[in-house]
């Protein structure tokens, strides 16, 4: 076999690998949506409370809790994550201390989510004595968000051209004024992308939440009580599939899976589109 034939064969195989990856994704998506799309798009499914023993239940509280916990976790993690990211990019001088903080952030990012969940259980469920709560779950979730937020903020702030800083400082602005008025607006698209990434992960997270927010929910839909237990849609899916006793578990699981995928997709789209137009407008205004 000469080199040219070998080259053609390798090219063919690499195409095959690419197509196989696409094929697996298509197969998975079809499998999820085929069984669950009808249930997932039924408004009754969103507004009916889950049932433990009879068929016909929905996912009202878990769906609400999904958004509630994700929002709370961002509320807790955004200020600290942004602050640490800005510090690393703008203030930290290269050296041992900075390296060490970066190593710690990377280490935190590598912690398996189940370990994070157990840590949350020790601190919030047992030591604080709260039991399984929405606030305990979202605080633990916030720890999962932190390293990604720090890294994305640092990268986006670093990517802002040096001339912006020099211009602002030359006009007499303090370093803090420069950061707030000049650097953050330019770094915002990158930071927002990071927030989307983090929120998408929080929406689908289970291992962090099972032993911090619990698998059950408040009896009332839309209960904002921070000390209520906060089973989310993803956790509900896990619970129904592995321990639930509902006769229509298959329907609930298929519907929840499809709904989860749709929520994650919609979330990506909702935040990406305004960002796209905003960027266009900004770059247009610059001329």
């Amino acid at each position: 076999m000469n080199a040219r034939t070998r080259d053609r064969m390798a090219t063919g195989l690499l195409w095959l690998a690419g197509l196989l990856i696409l094929g697996i994704l298509a197969w998975f998506l079809v499998a999820i949506l085929k069984d669950g799309l009808v249930t997932a798009l039924d408004p009754n499914f969103w507004t009916t409370k889950p049932r433990t023993t009879r068929a016909g239940g929905g996912v009202a509280q878990p769906l609400f809790n999904t958004f509630y916990l994700t929002a709370l976790s961002l509320l807790f993690s955004l200020p600290i994550g942004l602050g640490a990211g800005i510090y690393m990019a703008e203030y930290a001088k290269p050296g041992k201390v900075t390296d060490f903080i970066r190593l710690c952030t990377e280490a935190l990012a590598s912690v398996p989510s189940i370990v994070l969940g157990l840590f949350g259980m020790i601190v919030f469920v047992n030591a604080m004595g709260w039991g399984f709560t929405i606030v305990g779950g979202s605080l633990t979730l916030a720890l999962l968000n932190l390293p990604t937020l720090v890294r994305v903020t640092e990268d986006s702030v670093r990517a802002v051209p040096q001339s912006y800083r020099e211009g602002s400082l030359a006009l007499g602005a303090t370093q803090w004024q420069t950061i707030v008025k000049t650097i953050l607006p330019s770094a915002l698209p990158g930071i927002l992308t990071g927030i989307i990434l983090v929120a998408g992960r929080a929406i689908g997270e289970t291992a962090v939440l099972i032993y911090t927010a619990g698998v059950t929910t408040s009896r009332n839909v839309g209960d904002v009580d921070l000390l209520a237990s906060g089973g989310t849609l993803a956790v509900h899916l896990w619970y129904v599939k592995s321990e639930g006793l509902v006769p229509d578990a298959a329907r609930i699981a298929a519907g929840s899976s499809a709904l989860l995928i749709l929520v994650v997709l919609a979330f990506n789209l909702l935040l990406t589109l305004p960002l796209y137009f905003w960027q266009k407008k900004r770059s247009g205004a610059a001329h």
């Binding site: 080199a3 040219r4 070998r6 080259d7 090219t11 690998a17 690419g18 990856i21 696409l22 697996i24 998975f28 998506l29 999820i32 069984d35 200020p79 600290i80 942004l82 602050g83 640490a84 510090y87 703008e90 203030y91 060490f100 903080i101 710690c104 952030t105 280490a107 935190l108 590598s110 912690v111 398996p112 989510s113 189940i114 370990v115 157990l118 840590f119 259980m121 020790i122 720890l143 720090v150 303090t174 803090w176 998408g200 289970t206 291992a207 032993y211 993803a234 956790v235 899916l237 896990w238 599939k241 592995s242 298959a250 699981a253 298929a254 899976s257 989860l260 995928i261 994650v264 990506n268």
Partner: protein
């Protein structure tokens, strides 16, 4: 307009200057807080876990195959083997496929195909692990039971699901590594008459190999620590694996299955925490390894 408003370090500062100094301090506090989180995790989980050795011989914990907590047997080795087995299968499938996909994306795919693949990779990341577990449970387990044999639940399906979950990591790290290989190397090789495949195999991939390896280690860490997806398809029988398609358990799945039924402070509970502490230490070691490898790669 600048009125001196406060005295700090013996210098009168304007309001803006004061604010800038306070902001500096607050931002530093944020960074220090993030750095401290990992230590409190190590401390709390480690303390809970290491206390198991007041009741259980470490030798038994690490090397015994017998896990029967009600009878006082705490051998965690079957779960370590389950975790390693599933992760090994994940890498055997995911690493070659991911690397081939990355080469394809970086060097062969036309623009639109590359964009589609990158979006696909992002979608793979977006699928929650519980949904991966659900697919494995409802689609793959029955198929394996009917066509390959055994119970269907086991490390084969767990490994396959994990291989898909780690694809995006391997794809993106390897593609970046391949893309960053200096173009002059590639052009030199092609100019000498090498085919595209010869160039990829003997020039580009060897030049990118440290970062590709780092990506594979990251993927290993992710697969090893994955919980929900594995727990849903591995079968959760607390015993040594007897075959690729027979029910067994991993470190993560065993923790999630039994943590709820053990009272805090009991030996059983602490044994589960020790497994979690082991997972944590392995993840941290892998991250340090990745840092070492990549920094050495940059130096040469």
């Amino acid at each position: 307009m600048k009125k001196p408003l406060s005295l700090l370090g013996g210098i009168w500062l304007t309001r803006a200057q004061t604010r800038a100094r306070v902001a500096h301090g607050v931002l530093l506090a944020c960074a220090v807080f993030v750095a401290l989180v990992i230590f409190s995790i190590l401390f709390f989980v480690g303390k809970e876990g290491l206390l198991v050795f007041t009741d259980v011989n470490p030798f038994e914990f690490f090397f015994s195959l017998d896990w029967n907590p009600p009878q006082g047997h705490f051998g965690a080795l079957p779960f370590l083997i389950g975790s390693l087995g599933a992760t090994a299968i994940a890498l055997l499938i995911g690493a070659p496929l991911g690397l081939a996909g990355a080469i394809f994306m970086a060097k062969i795919a036309p623009g639109p195909v590359r964009t589609v693949l990158r979006q696909a990779s992002n979608l793979f990341v977006g699928i929650p692990s519980v949904v991966y577990g659900y697919i494995g449970m409802s689609l793959l387990v029955p198929w394996v039971r009917d066509h390959i044999g055994g119970q269907g639940f086991g490390i084969l399906v767990a490994g396959f699901i994990l291989s898909v979950m780690i694809l995006p990591t391997i794809l993106s790290v390897s593609e970046d590594a391949i893309r960053d290989v200096n173009r002059t190397l590639e052009e030199g090789s092609l100019a000498l008459g090498a085919t595209r495949w010869q160039t990829i195999r003997y020039v580009i991939v060897p030049a990118a190999k440290t970062r590709i390896l780092a990506g594979i280690i990251l993927a290993f860490a992710r697969a090893f620590g994955e919980t929900t997806a594995v727990q849903m398809v591995i079968g959760n029988s607390p015993r040594l694996l007897t075959g690729l398609t027979n029910s067994t358990s991993s470190l993560t799945s065993q923790i999630i299955m039994e943590m709820g039924q053990t009272p805090p402070g009991s030996t059983w509970n602490r044994a589960l925490f020790m497994m979690a502490f082991g997972l944590l230490l392995i993840s941290l070691l892998l991250i340090l390894l990745v840092r070492r490898i990549t920094s050495r790669g940059e130096a040469t």
